[in-house]
């Protein structure tokens, strides 16, 4: 079974802190994604990566950055957390182009106070 692991399920951080959300996949997938999930808005793409050290902005990249130094790991970074970044963050991975199944992690609940 494909496994996408988000190491932190629940985090509480203070405004202005730097926050790292880590994601690891075990299926040698080229593509990795970070989505943000908010009630009534569904999932919105923050950033994605199609290869090591390659990244592209999604629909809502402001306030976020990413890092992909190894194929299996994709990190989401909040340089200076703000309360409006309180949300559920979902990591996902897939191989190939459109139509291939995307596998999701269980999510990281981030609360910024």
């Amino acid at each position: 079974d494909v496994k996408v692991t988000q190491s932190s399920r629940y985090l509480v951080k203070r405004t202005g802190e730097k926050v790292f959300l880590e994601c690891v996949q075990d299926m040698d997938h080229e593509n990795m994604f970070w989505y943000r999930q908010d009630p009534g808005l569904g999932l919105r793409l923050i950033y994605f990566s199609y290869d090591v050290k390659m990244k592209e902005k999604g629909d809502i990249p402001e306030g976020y950055s990413v890092s992909r130094e190894k194929k299996e790991r994709f990190s989401l970074i909040l340089e200076s957390a703000s309360t409006n970044q309180t949300s559920m963050y979902l990591c996902a991975s897939s191989t190939g182009g459109v139509g291939n199944t995307i596998y999701f992690g269980e999510g990281s609940w981030l609360t910024v106070v």
Partner: protein
């Protein structure tokens, strides 16, 4: 611009009743369409997907969906709902040439009464 609309935010059905969740999309080309389910506290799991061919597609857990190009719809159905189907359901469209990016609808939360 590509978009996905799920008109129903919440739906409540009785166990054993039939279910239909609505999804409308806006996409310029032939769409790649997906339904995902998210159980409480969990990530998303793929239920089914449509690319081409037979417009009625079967998925896991007894779900099916029908693609209707004339209505730009991809509604999800199940003939008899079980209490374990209570979850949030997301419809999504895949972007061709976009490294497998998906655009999601806002989701429909399903509650099942015993």
């Amino acid at each position: 611009a590509q978009s996905v609309t799920q008109p129903d935010i919440h739906i409540t059905v009785s166990e054993g009743a039939s279910l239909e969740l609505r999804c409308n999309y806006s996409y310029g080309a032939t769409p790649y369409l997906f339904w995902y389910v998210q159980s409480p506290g969990q990530g998303l799991q793929l239920l089914l997907k449509y690319f081409s061919g037979d417009t009625l597609v079967q998925g896991i857990k007894g779900f099916e969906a029908e693609f209707k190009r004339s209505q730009s719809s991809f509604n999800l159905r199940k003939p008899s709902v079980h209490w374990s189907d209570a979850a949030e359901y997301f419809c999504a469209v895949g972007i061709v040439g976009g490294y497998n990016k998906l655009i999601f609808g806002a989701g429909t939360r399903l509650a099942v009464h015993p």
